[in-house]
Protein backbone atom coordinates (compact mmCIF):
# COMPACT_ATOMS: atom_id res chain seq x y z
CA UNK A 1 0.00 0.00 0.00
CA UNK A 2 2.71 2.43 0.92
CA UNK A 3 5.32 1.42 -1.64
CA UNK A 4 4.22 3.74 -4.46
CA UNK A 5 3.90 6.63 -2.01
CA UNK A 6 7.42 6.07 -0.75
CA UNK A 7 8.66 6.17 -4.32
CA UNK A 8 6.75 9.39 -4.94
CA UNK A 9 8.21 10.95 -1.80
CA UNK A 10 11.75 9.82 -2.59
CA UNK A 11 11.56 11.23 -6.10
CA UNK A 12 10.36 14.58 -4.77
CA UNK A 13 13.97 15.09 -3.67
CA UNK A 14 15.28 14.32 -7.16
CA UNK A 15 17.39 17.04 -8.70
CA UNK A 16 16.31 16.06 -12.23
CA UNK A 17 12.98 16.99 -13.76
CA UNK A 18 12.51 13.44 -15.04
CA UNK A 19 11.37 10.46 -13.03
CA UNK A 20 13.54 8.03 -14.99
CA UNK A 21 16.77 9.72 -13.95
CA UNK A 22 18.14 10.11 -10.45
CA UNK A 23 20.37 13.18 -10.45
CA UNK A 24 21.05 13.62 -6.77
CA UNK A 25 19.36 15.00 -3.66
CA UNK A 26 17.75 18.42 -3.85
CA UNK A 27 15.16 20.52 -2.09
CA UNK A 28 14.60 22.83 -5.04
CA UNK A 29 11.15 21.46 -5.87
CA UNK A 30 9.93 22.26 -2.38
CA UNK A 31 11.26 25.74 -2.82
CA UNK A 32 9.41 26.09 -6.12
CA UNK A 33 6.25 24.71 -4.59
CA UNK A 34 6.17 27.26 -1.81
CA UNK A 35 6.59 30.09 -4.27
CA UNK A 36 3.59 28.91 -6.26
CA UNK A 37 0.68 30.67 -4.58
CA UNK A 38 -1.94 29.22 -6.90
CA UNK A 39 -0.85 25.71 -5.90
CA UNK A 40 -1.34 26.49 -2.22
CA UNK A 41 -4.73 28.13 -2.67
CA UNK A 42 -5.77 25.11 -4.73
CA UNK A 43 -4.82 22.94 -1.77
CA UNK A 44 -7.06 25.07 0.46
CA UNK A 45 -9.95 24.75 -1.98
CA UNK A 46 -9.56 20.99 -2.16
CA UNK A 47 -9.56 20.54 1.61
CA UNK A 48 -12.63 22.71 2.02
CA UNK A 49 -14.44 20.97 -0.81
CA UNK A 50 -13.66 17.48 0.50
CA UNK A 51 -14.85 18.35 4.01
CA UNK A 52 -18.03 20.08 2.89
CA UNK A 53 -19.10 17.45 0.38
CA UNK A 54 -18.26 14.41 2.51
CA UNK A 55 -19.99 16.09 5.45
CA UNK A 56 -23.11 16.78 3.44
CA UNK A 57 -23.01 13.26 2.03
CA UNK A 58 -22.62 11.78 5.51
CA UNK A 59 -25.78 13.53 6.71
CA UNK A 60 -27.81 12.76 3.60
CA UNK A 61 -26.57 9.19 3.21
CA UNK A 62 -26.87 8.17 6.86
CA UNK A 63 -30.34 9.61 7.32
CA UNK A 64 -31.41 8.00 4.08
CA UNK A 65 -30.11 4.58 5.05
CA UNK A 66 -31.63 4.77 8.53
CA UNK A 67 -34.98 6.01 7.23
CA UNK A 68 -35.15 3.23 4.67
CA UNK A 69 -34.31 0.58 7.22
CA UNK A 70 -37.05 1.76 9.57
CA UNK A 71 -39.98 1.28 7.30
CA UNK A 72 -40.74 0.07 3.81
CA UNK A 73 -40.91 3.34 1.93
CA UNK A 74 -42.40 3.79 -1.50
CA UNK A 75 -39.77 3.95 -4.21
CA UNK A 76 -36.94 3.23 -1.81
CA UNK A 77 -35.31 0.71 -4.17
CA UNK A 78 -35.54 3.13 -7.07
CA UNK A 79 -34.10 6.02 -5.11
CA UNK A 80 -31.29 3.81 -3.92
CA UNK A 81 -30.48 2.73 -7.45
CA UNK A 82 -30.53 6.30 -8.74
CA UNK A 83 -28.44 7.48 -5.82
CA UNK A 84 -25.69 5.02 -6.75
CA UNK A 85 -25.66 6.14 -10.38
CA UNK A 86 -22.94 8.76 -9.82
CA UNK A 87 -20.44 6.01 -9.11
CA UNK A 88 -21.76 3.92 -12.01
CA UNK A 89 -21.78 6.52 -14.73
CA UNK A 90 -18.44 7.34 -16.35
CA UNK A 91 -17.13 10.50 -14.74
CA UNK A 92 -16.54 12.27 -18.01
CA UNK A 93 -20.18 12.13 -19.03
CA UNK A 94 -21.28 13.00 -15.53
CA UNK A 95 -19.09 16.07 -15.58
CA UNK A 96 -20.45 17.13 -18.93
CA UNK A 97 -24.04 16.55 -17.89
CA UNK A 98 -23.55 18.46 -14.65
CA UNK A 99 -22.13 21.33 -16.66
CA UNK A 100 -25.15 21.36 -18.95
CA UNK A 101 -27.52 20.92 -16.02
CA UNK A 102 -26.10 23.73 -13.90
CA UNK A 103 -26.06 26.16 -16.77
CA UNK A 104 -29.63 25.09 -17.58
CA UNK A 105 -30.87 25.94 -14.08
CA UNK A 106 -28.62 28.99 -13.93
CA UNK A 107 -26.34 28.19 -11.01
CA UNK A 108 -23.09 30.17 -11.24
CA UNK A 109 -20.00 27.97 -11.34
CA UNK A 110 -17.96 27.96 -8.17
CA UNK A 111 -17.76 26.29 -4.80
CA UNK A 112 -21.50 25.59 -4.65
CA UNK A 113 -21.60 23.67 -7.93
CA UNK A 114 -18.46 21.81 -6.92
CA UNK A 115 -19.97 20.81 -3.57
CA UNK A 116 -23.23 19.63 -5.15
CA UNK A 117 -21.42 17.56 -7.78
CA UNK A 118 -19.02 16.05 -5.26
CA UNK A 119 -21.79 15.33 -2.76
CA UNK A 120 -23.59 13.40 -5.46
CA UNK A 121 -20.76 10.90 -5.79
CA UNK A 122 -19.96 10.85 -2.06
CA UNK A 123 -23.49 9.83 -1.03
CA UNK A 124 -23.33 6.28 -2.45
CA UNK A 125 -20.28 5.36 -0.36
CA UNK A 126 -22.00 6.37 2.87
CA UNK A 127 -25.34 4.94 1.84
CA UNK A 128 -23.98 1.54 0.85
CA UNK A 129 -21.69 1.12 3.84
CA UNK A 130 -24.28 2.25 6.39
CA UNK A 131 -26.87 0.04 4.76
CA UNK A 132 -24.56 -2.95 4.86
CA UNK A 133 -24.07 -2.31 8.55
CA UNK A 134 -27.73 -1.73 9.34
CA UNK A 135 -28.74 -4.89 7.52
CA UNK A 136 -29.29 -7.47 10.21
CA UNK A 137 -28.32 -5.16 13.01
CA UNK A 138 -30.17 -6.04 16.16
CA UNK A 139 -33.23 -3.84 16.10
CA UNK A 140 -34.60 -5.16 19.35
CA UNK A 141 -32.36 -2.86 21.37
CA UNK A 142 -33.64 0.33 19.83
CA UNK A 143 -37.18 -1.02 19.91
CA UNK A 144 -36.79 -1.81 23.59
CA UNK A 145 -35.57 1.73 24.17
CA UNK A 146 -38.66 3.04 22.40
CA UNK A 147 -40.91 0.81 24.48
CA UNK A 148 -39.26 2.14 27.61
CA UNK A 149 -40.31 5.65 26.61
CA UNK A 150 -37.27 7.00 24.79
CA UNK A 151 -38.12 9.37 21.97
CA UNK A 152 -37.20 8.47 18.40
CA UNK A 153 -34.40 11.00 18.52
CA UNK A 154 -33.05 9.68 21.79
CA UNK A 155 -33.13 6.15 20.50
CA UNK A 156 -31.34 7.22 17.35
CA UNK A 157 -28.58 9.14 19.06
CA UNK A 158 -27.96 6.75 21.96
CA UNK A 159 -28.44 3.40 20.28
CA UNK A 160 -28.39 3.45 16.48
CA UNK A 161 -25.80 6.14 15.82
CA UNK A 162 -23.01 4.63 17.95
CA UNK A 163 -23.60 1.31 16.23
CA UNK A 164 -23.36 2.65 12.70
CA UNK A 165 -20.61 5.16 13.50
CA UNK A 166 -17.78 2.97 12.15
CA UNK A 167 -19.59 2.61 8.84
CA UNK A 168 -20.17 6.36 8.63
CA UNK A 169 -16.52 6.95 9.44
CA UNK A 170 -15.23 4.56 6.79
CA UNK A 171 -17.71 5.98 4.29
CA UNK A 172 -16.46 9.46 5.01
CA UNK A 173 -12.84 8.40 4.73
CA UNK A 174 -13.58 7.03 1.27
CA UNK A 175 -15.70 10.02 0.32
CA UNK A 176 -12.96 12.44 1.32
CA UNK A 177 -10.44 10.45 -0.66
CA UNK A 178 -12.67 10.41 -3.74
CA UNK A 179 -13.48 14.09 -3.51
CA UNK A 180 -9.89 15.01 -2.84
CA UNK A 181 -8.81 13.14 -5.94
CA UNK A 182 -11.53 13.98 -8.41
CA UNK A 183 -10.55 15.93 -11.46
CA UNK A 184 -12.82 14.86 -14.29
CA UNK A 185 -16.03 16.15 -12.73
CA UNK A 186 -14.41 19.14 -11.04
CA UNK A 187 -12.91 20.43 -14.23
CA UNK A 188 -16.39 20.92 -15.68
CA UNK A 189 -18.16 22.46 -12.71
CA UNK A 190 -15.40 24.61 -11.22
CA UNK A 191 -15.47 28.39 -11.41
CA UNK A 192 -12.84 31.06 -11.84
CA UNK A 193 -11.67 31.18 -8.24
CA UNK A 194 -11.98 27.55 -7.27
CA UNK A 195 -9.12 25.63 -8.80
CA UNK A 196 -8.56 22.40 -6.91
CA UNK A 197 -5.37 20.48 -6.30
CA UNK A 198 -6.01 17.53 -8.64
CA UNK A 199 -6.84 20.05 -11.35
CA UNK A 200 -3.36 21.46 -10.89
CA UNK A 201 -1.84 18.01 -11.08
CA UNK A 202 -3.76 16.62 -14.05
CA UNK A 203 -3.60 19.70 -16.21
CA UNK A 204 0.15 19.59 -16.61
CA UNK A 205 -0.20 17.41 -19.69
CA UNK A 206 1.24 20.03 -21.99
CA UNK A 207 4.52 20.16 -20.14
CA UNK A 208 4.74 16.92 -18.19
CA UNK A 209 4.47 16.35 -14.45
CA UNK A 210 7.40 17.77 -12.53
CA UNK A 211 8.80 16.73 -9.13
CA UNK A 212 7.10 19.85 -7.79
CA UNK A 213 3.97 17.74 -7.82
CA UNK A 214 5.81 14.93 -6.05
CA UNK A 215 6.80 17.43 -3.40
CA UNK A 216 3.20 18.51 -3.03
CA UNK A 217 2.02 14.92 -2.67
CA UNK A 218 4.72 14.29 -0.10
CA UNK A 219 3.44 17.21 1.95
CA UNK A 220 -0.20 16.18 1.63
CA UNK A 221 0.78 12.69 2.67
CA UNK A 222 2.74 13.93 5.66
CA UNK A 223 -0.15 16.18 6.72
CA UNK A 224 -2.74 13.43 6.51
CA UNK A 225 -0.45 11.08 8.44
CA UNK A 226 -0.02 13.68 11.18
CA UNK A 227 -3.73 14.41 11.24
CA UNK A 228 -4.45 10.70 11.55
CA UNK A 229 -1.91 10.26 14.35
CA UNK A 230 -3.33 13.23 16.24
CA UNK A 231 -6.91 12.15 15.79
CA UNK A 232 -6.19 8.64 17.06
CA UNK A 233 -4.49 10.22 20.12
CA UNK A 234 -7.46 12.47 20.75
CA UNK A 235 -9.81 9.58 20.19
CA UNK A 236 -7.99 7.51 22.79
CA UNK A 237 -8.12 10.25 25.41
CA UNK A 238 -11.79 10.93 24.99
CA UNK A 239 -12.61 7.25 24.99
Amino acid sequence: MYLPIIVVVVYSFNESKLSSVWAGFSLKWYDELFRDKSMLSALGNSVLLALLSSGAAAVIGTLGAVGMSRAKLRGAKTIELIATVPIMAPEIILGMVFLAFFSLIGLPFGMLTLVIAHTSFCVPYILLLVKARLAGMDKSVSEAALDLGASELQAFFTITLPQIAPAIASGMFLAIAMSFDDVIISVFVTGVNTNTLPLKIYTQIKTGVTPKTNALCAIVFACSAILAAVSSRVGKKSA
Binding site: S16, L18, R35, V183, T190, Q204, K206, T207, G208
Partner: protein, 348 residues
Amino acid sequence: MKKIMVAAILAALVLMPGCAKKEEAKPALSLYTWEAMFPQEVLDAFTEETGYPITYSNFDFDETMLAKLEASNGGDYDLVIADDYIIEEAVNLGLVSQLDKSKLSNYGNINPVYQKPFYDPEDLYTVPYGAGVQTILYNPDKVLLDINGYKDLWDSTLRDDIGVIANYRVVNGLALKVLGESYNTDDLDVIQQAGDRLVELAPNIRLIKDDNLQDDILSGEVAAIVGYTSMVTMALIENPNLKVVFPEEGIGFGIMAAFIPSKAPNSEAAYAFLDYIMDPERGAECFEYLGYYSTYKASDPFISDEYKSFLTLPEGFATNMEMIQNISAEANEKHEQIWTLFKNAAGQ
Protein backbone atom coordinates in the same frame (compact mmCIF):
# COMPACT_ATOMS: atom_id res chain seq x y z
CA MET B 1 -11.87 13.22 15.02
CA LYS B 2 -15.14 15.10 14.78
CA LYS B 3 -13.77 18.03 16.72
CA ILE B 4 -10.79 18.24 14.44
CA MET B 5 -12.96 18.21 11.36
CA VAL B 6 -15.21 20.93 12.72
CA ALA B 7 -12.16 22.96 13.63
CA ALA B 8 -10.71 22.43 10.18
CA ILE B 9 -13.93 23.49 8.48
CA LEU B 10 -14.14 26.57 10.63
CA ALA B 11 -10.51 27.40 10.01
CA ALA B 12 -10.97 26.99 6.29
CA LEU B 13 -14.09 29.16 6.29
CA VAL B 14 -12.29 31.87 8.22
CA LEU B 15 -9.20 31.69 6.05
CA MET B 16 -10.85 31.57 2.65
CA PRO B 17 -12.43 35.03 2.59
CA GLY B 18 -9.30 36.28 4.31
CA CYS B 19 -7.20 35.13 1.37
CA ALA B 20 -9.51 36.65 -1.17
CA LYS B 21 -9.80 39.99 0.56
CA LYS B 22 -6.17 41.01 0.11
CA GLU B 23 -6.09 44.64 -0.91
CA GLU B 24 -6.61 44.46 -4.62
CA ALA B 25 -5.76 47.73 -6.22
CA LYS B 26 -6.79 46.33 -9.59
CA PRO B 27 -9.21 43.57 -10.56
CA ALA B 28 -7.50 40.21 -11.09
CA LEU B 29 -6.54 38.80 -14.47
CA SER B 30 -8.35 35.52 -14.93
CA LEU B 31 -6.01 33.32 -16.93
CA TYR B 32 -7.38 29.99 -18.20
CA THR B 33 -4.97 27.41 -19.60
CA TRP B 34 -3.09 24.23 -18.71
CA GLU B 35 -1.02 24.08 -15.56
CA ALA B 36 2.68 24.98 -15.77
CA MET B 37 2.49 27.13 -18.89
CA PHE B 38 4.43 30.02 -17.36
CA PRO B 39 7.37 30.24 -14.97
CA GLN B 40 6.27 31.45 -11.57
CA GLU B 41 8.81 34.29 -11.76
CA VAL B 42 7.10 35.76 -14.81
CA LEU B 43 3.65 35.61 -13.21
CA ASP B 44 4.90 37.20 -10.00
CA ALA B 45 6.80 39.92 -11.83
CA PHE B 46 3.72 40.76 -13.90
CA THR B 47 1.64 41.30 -10.77
CA GLU B 48 4.38 43.38 -9.25
CA GLU B 49 4.89 45.60 -12.26
CA THR B 50 1.33 46.12 -13.40
CA GLY B 51 -0.63 45.64 -10.19
CA TYR B 52 -2.96 43.01 -11.66
CA PRO B 53 -3.13 39.91 -9.48
CA ILE B 54 -3.50 36.68 -11.47
CA THR B 55 -6.15 34.01 -10.97
CA TYR B 56 -4.73 30.99 -12.75
CA SER B 57 -7.35 28.35 -13.56
CA ASN B 58 -6.73 25.15 -15.46
CA PHE B 59 -8.41 22.76 -17.85
CA ASP B 60 -7.29 19.32 -18.94
CA PHE B 61 -8.47 19.20 -22.55
CA ASP B 62 -9.21 21.91 -25.08
CA GLU B 63 -12.77 20.61 -25.26
CA THR B 64 -13.30 21.21 -21.56
CA MET B 65 -12.25 24.79 -22.07
CA LEU B 66 -14.70 25.19 -24.96
CA ALA B 67 -17.54 23.68 -22.93
CA LYS B 68 -16.85 26.01 -20.02
CA LEU B 69 -16.56 29.03 -22.28
CA GLU B 70 -19.86 28.14 -23.94
CA ALA B 71 -21.55 27.71 -20.55
CA SER B 72 -20.36 31.14 -19.47
CA ASN B 73 -21.15 32.64 -22.87
CA GLY B 74 -17.64 33.93 -23.42
CA GLY B 75 -17.45 35.50 -19.96
CA ASP B 76 -15.69 34.59 -16.69
CA TYR B 77 -12.21 34.37 -18.20
CA ASP B 78 -10.00 37.18 -19.47
CA LEU B 79 -7.32 35.31 -21.38
CA VAL B 80 -7.34 31.75 -22.69
CA ILE B 81 -4.42 29.79 -24.16
CA ALA B 82 -5.36 26.64 -26.07
CA ASP B 83 -4.60 24.58 -29.18
CA ASP B 84 -5.11 25.79 -32.72
CA TYR B 85 -8.04 23.66 -33.88
CA ILE B 86 -10.23 24.46 -30.89
CA ILE B 87 -9.73 28.18 -31.39
CA GLU B 88 -11.25 27.84 -34.85
CA GLU B 89 -14.37 26.39 -33.22
CA ALA B 90 -14.42 29.04 -30.51
CA VAL B 91 -14.22 31.75 -33.16
CA ASN B 92 -17.05 30.11 -35.13
CA LEU B 93 -19.17 30.02 -31.99
CA GLY B 94 -18.62 33.74 -31.48
CA LEU B 95 -16.80 33.28 -28.20
CA VAL B 96 -13.66 35.21 -29.15
CA SER B 97 -13.21 38.97 -29.30
CA GLN B 98 -11.14 40.77 -31.91
CA LEU B 99 -7.78 42.02 -30.73
CA ASP B 100 -7.09 45.71 -30.50
CA LYS B 101 -3.49 45.60 -31.68
CA SER B 102 -2.87 49.21 -30.68
CA LYS B 103 -2.78 47.91 -27.12
CA LEU B 104 -0.02 45.45 -27.96
CA SER B 105 3.23 47.36 -28.46
CA ASN B 106 5.17 44.10 -28.87
CA TYR B 107 2.86 42.62 -31.50
CA GLY B 108 5.57 43.00 -34.16
CA ASN B 109 7.76 40.47 -32.35
CA ILE B 110 5.70 37.53 -33.58
CA ASN B 111 7.50 35.23 -36.02
CA PRO B 112 5.64 35.57 -39.36
CA VAL B 113 5.81 31.77 -39.84
CA TYR B 114 3.15 31.49 -37.16
CA GLN B 115 0.90 34.21 -38.53
CA LYS B 116 -2.23 33.88 -40.63
CA PRO B 117 -2.87 30.30 -39.50
CA PHE B 118 -5.99 28.40 -40.54
CA TYR B 119 -7.79 29.17 -37.29
CA ASP B 120 -7.25 32.90 -37.66
CA PRO B 121 -6.50 33.57 -41.33
CA GLU B 122 -6.46 37.35 -40.93
CA ASP B 123 -4.75 37.55 -37.57
CA LEU B 124 -7.78 39.17 -35.99
CA TYR B 125 -8.14 37.18 -32.81
CA THR B 126 -5.02 35.47 -31.57
CA VAL B 127 -1.43 35.75 -30.46
CA PRO B 128 0.58 32.51 -30.76
CA TYR B 129 2.29 31.20 -27.64
CA GLY B 130 4.58 28.28 -28.41
CA ALA B 131 4.53 25.80 -31.27
CA GLY B 132 5.50 22.19 -31.62
CA VAL B 133 6.23 19.67 -34.34
CA GLN B 134 5.80 15.92 -34.21
CA THR B 135 9.21 14.40 -34.21
CA ILE B 136 10.72 10.91 -34.25
CA LEU B 137 13.36 10.42 -31.59
CA TYR B 138 15.38 7.22 -31.33
CA ASN B 139 18.21 5.67 -29.45
CA PRO B 140 20.94 4.73 -32.01
CA ASP B 141 22.41 2.17 -29.59
CA LYS B 142 19.24 0.14 -29.75
CA VAL B 143 17.92 0.75 -33.24
CA LEU B 144 19.71 -1.12 -36.00
CA LEU B 145 18.53 0.95 -38.94
CA ASP B 146 18.74 4.63 -39.79
CA ILE B 147 15.29 6.09 -39.33
CA ASN B 148 14.50 8.81 -41.83
CA GLY B 149 10.77 8.88 -41.90
CA TYR B 150 7.56 7.38 -40.61
CA LYS B 151 7.78 4.44 -43.04
CA ASP B 152 10.83 3.11 -41.19
CA LEU B 153 8.73 2.57 -38.07
CA TRP B 154 7.18 -0.47 -39.76
CA ASP B 155 10.58 -2.25 -39.75
CA SER B 156 10.34 -5.64 -38.09
CA THR B 157 13.44 -5.06 -35.92
CA LEU B 158 11.47 -2.47 -33.96
CA ARG B 159 9.03 -5.03 -32.61
CA ASP B 160 7.40 -3.91 -29.33
CA ASP B 161 9.87 -1.05 -29.11
CA ILE B 162 8.04 2.12 -30.18
CA GLY B 163 6.17 4.66 -28.09
CA VAL B 164 3.72 7.09 -29.72
CA ILE B 165 1.64 9.97 -28.45
CA ALA B 166 -2.01 9.27 -27.73
CA ASN B 167 -3.43 11.76 -30.21
CA TYR B 168 -5.40 9.85 -32.81
CA ARG B 169 -5.14 12.52 -35.46
CA VAL B 170 -1.35 12.51 -35.13
CA VAL B 171 -0.92 8.74 -35.15
CA ASN B 172 -3.52 8.05 -37.83
CA GLY B 173 -1.95 10.97 -39.63
CA LEU B 174 1.47 9.38 -39.75
CA ALA B 175 -0.04 6.48 -41.66
CA LEU B 176 -1.77 8.99 -43.96
CA LYS B 177 1.59 10.65 -44.54
CA VAL B 178 3.17 7.31 -45.44
CA LEU B 179 0.39 6.91 -48.01
CA GLY B 180 1.31 10.36 -49.33
CA GLU B 181 -1.96 11.90 -48.19
CA SER B 182 -2.87 14.99 -46.22
CA TYR B 183 -3.58 14.94 -42.49
CA ASN B 184 -6.86 16.59 -43.23
CA THR B 185 -8.32 14.37 -45.91
CA ASP B 186 -12.07 13.85 -45.78
CA ASP B 187 -11.87 10.75 -48.00
CA LEU B 188 -13.21 7.86 -45.90
CA ASP B 189 -11.55 5.20 -48.09
CA VAL B 190 -8.16 6.80 -47.67
CA ILE B 191 -8.63 6.96 -43.91
CA GLN B 192 -9.61 3.29 -43.93
CA GLN B 193 -6.40 2.45 -45.87
CA ALA B 194 -4.41 4.32 -43.25
CA GLY B 195 -6.21 2.25 -40.60
CA ASP B 196 -5.16 -0.97 -42.35
CA ARG B 197 -1.55 0.20 -42.39
CA LEU B 198 -1.77 1.03 -38.69
CA VAL B 199 -2.92 -2.47 -37.81
CA GLU B 200 0.30 -3.70 -39.49
CA LEU B 201 2.25 -1.25 -37.35
CA ALA B 202 0.57 -2.43 -34.13
CA PRO B 203 3.04 -5.23 -33.23
CA ASN B 204 5.82 -2.65 -33.03
CA ILE B 205 3.89 -0.43 -30.63
CA ARG B 206 4.74 -0.88 -26.99
CA LEU B 207 3.20 2.26 -25.68
CA ILE B 208 0.62 4.93 -26.49
CA LYS B 209 0.50 7.92 -24.20
CA ASP B 210 0.43 11.66 -24.09
CA ASP B 211 2.54 12.59 -21.12
CA ASN B 212 6.14 12.03 -20.10
CA LEU B 213 7.02 9.87 -23.10
CA GLN B 214 10.59 11.12 -22.66
CA ASP B 215 10.89 9.03 -19.48
CA ASP B 216 10.29 5.87 -21.46
CA ILE B 217 12.97 6.43 -24.06
CA LEU B 218 15.45 7.50 -21.39
CA SER B 219 14.81 4.45 -19.22
CA GLY B 220 15.10 2.07 -22.17
CA GLU B 221 11.46 1.04 -22.07
CA VAL B 222 11.22 1.86 -25.78
CA ALA B 223 13.87 2.45 -28.46
CA ALA B 224 12.01 5.08 -30.50
CA ILE B 225 9.20 7.53 -29.94
CA VAL B 226 6.96 9.78 -31.99
CA GLY B 227 6.57 12.74 -29.70
CA TYR B 228 5.93 16.44 -29.26
CA THR B 229 8.64 19.06 -29.16
CA SER B 230 8.60 19.47 -25.37
CA MET B 231 9.26 15.73 -24.88
CA VAL B 232 12.08 15.77 -27.36
CA THR B 233 13.61 18.81 -25.67
CA MET B 234 13.56 17.19 -22.24
CA ALA B 235 14.92 13.87 -23.50
CA LEU B 236 17.78 15.49 -25.44
CA ILE B 237 18.89 17.62 -22.52
CA GLU B 238 19.24 14.45 -20.49
CA ASN B 239 20.75 12.29 -23.24
CA PRO B 240 22.28 14.20 -26.18
CA ASN B 241 23.08 10.94 -28.02
CA LEU B 242 19.46 10.40 -28.97
CA LYS B 243 18.76 11.08 -32.62
CA VAL B 244 16.12 13.52 -33.81
CA VAL B 245 14.34 12.84 -37.09
CA PHE B 246 12.00 15.23 -38.81
CA PRO B 247 10.08 12.70 -40.92
CA GLU B 248 10.74 13.03 -44.62
CA GLU B 249 7.07 12.36 -45.45
CA GLY B 250 6.13 15.70 -43.96
CA ILE B 251 6.07 17.43 -40.65
CA GLY B 252 2.93 17.93 -38.63
CA PHE B 253 2.91 20.95 -36.45
CA GLY B 254 0.61 22.71 -34.05
CA ILE B 255 0.41 26.13 -32.47
CA MET B 256 -0.87 27.15 -29.10
CA ALA B 257 -2.39 30.59 -29.08
CA ALA B 258 -3.89 33.11 -26.70
CA PHE B 259 -7.23 34.84 -27.21
CA ILE B 260 -9.52 37.11 -25.25
CA PRO B 261 -13.07 35.72 -24.84
CA SER B 262 -15.91 37.82 -26.21
CA LYS B 263 -17.20 38.92 -22.82
CA ALA B 264 -13.97 38.94 -20.85
CA PRO B 265 -14.63 40.88 -17.63
CA ASN B 266 -11.13 42.37 -17.53
CA SER B 267 -9.72 42.58 -21.04
CA GLU B 268 -7.40 45.46 -20.05
CA ALA B 269 -5.44 43.05 -17.86
CA ALA B 270 -5.40 40.50 -20.68
CA TYR B 271 -3.81 43.00 -23.08
CA ALA B 272 -1.30 43.99 -20.43
CA PHE B 273 -0.36 40.34 -19.90
CA LEU B 274 -0.10 39.53 -23.61
CA ASP B 275 2.15 42.50 -24.20
CA TYR B 276 4.18 41.52 -21.17
CA ILE B 277 4.98 38.00 -22.36
CA MET B 278 5.73 39.17 -25.91
CA ASP B 279 8.64 41.17 -24.60
CA PRO B 280 11.71 39.56 -26.26
CA GLU B 281 13.58 38.61 -23.10
CA ARG B 282 10.56 37.52 -21.13
CA GLY B 283 9.32 35.50 -24.10
CA ALA B 284 12.63 33.66 -24.18
CA GLU B 285 12.32 32.92 -20.47
CA CYS B 286 8.81 31.52 -21.02
CA PHE B 287 9.77 29.28 -23.94
CA GLU B 288 12.76 27.84 -22.12
CA TYR B 289 10.40 26.92 -19.30
CA LEU B 290 7.72 25.62 -21.64
CA GLY B 291 9.98 23.61 -23.95
CA TYR B 292 8.07 24.48 -27.13
CA TYR B 293 9.30 26.45 -30.16
CA SER B 294 9.54 30.17 -29.66
CA THR B 295 6.82 31.94 -31.62
CA TYR B 296 8.38 35.39 -31.20
CA LYS B 297 11.22 36.13 -33.62
CA ALA B 298 12.49 38.85 -31.29
CA SER B 299 12.88 36.31 -28.49
CA ASP B 300 15.07 33.89 -30.46
CA PRO B 301 18.37 35.72 -29.75
CA PHE B 302 17.69 35.63 -26.02
CA ILE B 303 17.26 31.88 -25.79
CA SER B 304 20.29 30.38 -24.06
CA ASP B 305 22.69 28.21 -26.04
CA GLU B 306 21.69 25.09 -24.17
CA TYR B 307 18.16 25.36 -25.55
CA LYS B 308 18.74 27.24 -28.77
CA SER B 309 18.78 24.30 -31.15
CA PHE B 310 15.59 22.87 -29.63
CA LEU B 311 13.45 25.97 -29.34
CA THR B 312 13.97 27.85 -32.57
CA LEU B 313 12.56 26.69 -35.84
CA PRO B 314 15.18 25.07 -38.12
CA GLU B 315 15.85 26.80 -41.45
CA GLY B 316 13.83 25.88 -44.52
CA PHE B 317 11.35 23.99 -42.44
CA ALA B 318 8.16 25.73 -43.30
CA THR B 319 7.87 24.21 -46.79
CA ASN B 320 7.26 20.65 -45.62
CA MET B 321 4.84 21.38 -42.78
CA GLU B 322 1.15 20.75 -42.46
CA MET B 323 -1.16 21.61 -39.60
CA ILE B 324 -3.84 19.29 -38.34
CA GLN B 325 -7.18 20.99 -38.89
CA ASN B 326 -10.84 20.30 -38.20
CA ILE B 327 -12.36 17.79 -40.63
CA SER B 328 -15.88 16.59 -41.41
CA ALA B 329 -17.84 14.74 -38.73
CA GLU B 330 -17.91 11.53 -40.80
CA ALA B 331 -14.14 11.60 -41.34
CA ASN B 332 -13.66 12.23 -37.66
CA GLU B 333 -15.79 9.24 -36.71
CA LYS B 334 -13.84 7.07 -39.15
CA HIS B 335 -10.63 8.24 -37.54
CA GLU B 336 -11.93 7.27 -34.12
CA GLN B 337 -12.87 3.79 -35.36
CA ILE B 338 -9.51 2.98 -36.96
CA TRP B 339 -7.83 4.35 -33.83
CA THR B 340 -9.78 2.02 -31.53
CA LEU B 341 -8.99 -0.93 -33.81
CA PHE B 342 -5.32 0.06 -33.81
CA LYS B 343 -5.24 0.17 -30.02
CA ASN B 344 -6.94 -3.21 -29.78
CA ALA B 345 -4.41 -4.65 -32.24
CA ALA B 346 -1.51 -3.21 -30.26
CA GLY B 347 -2.91 -4.78 -27.08
CA GLN B 348 -2.96 -8.30 -28.50
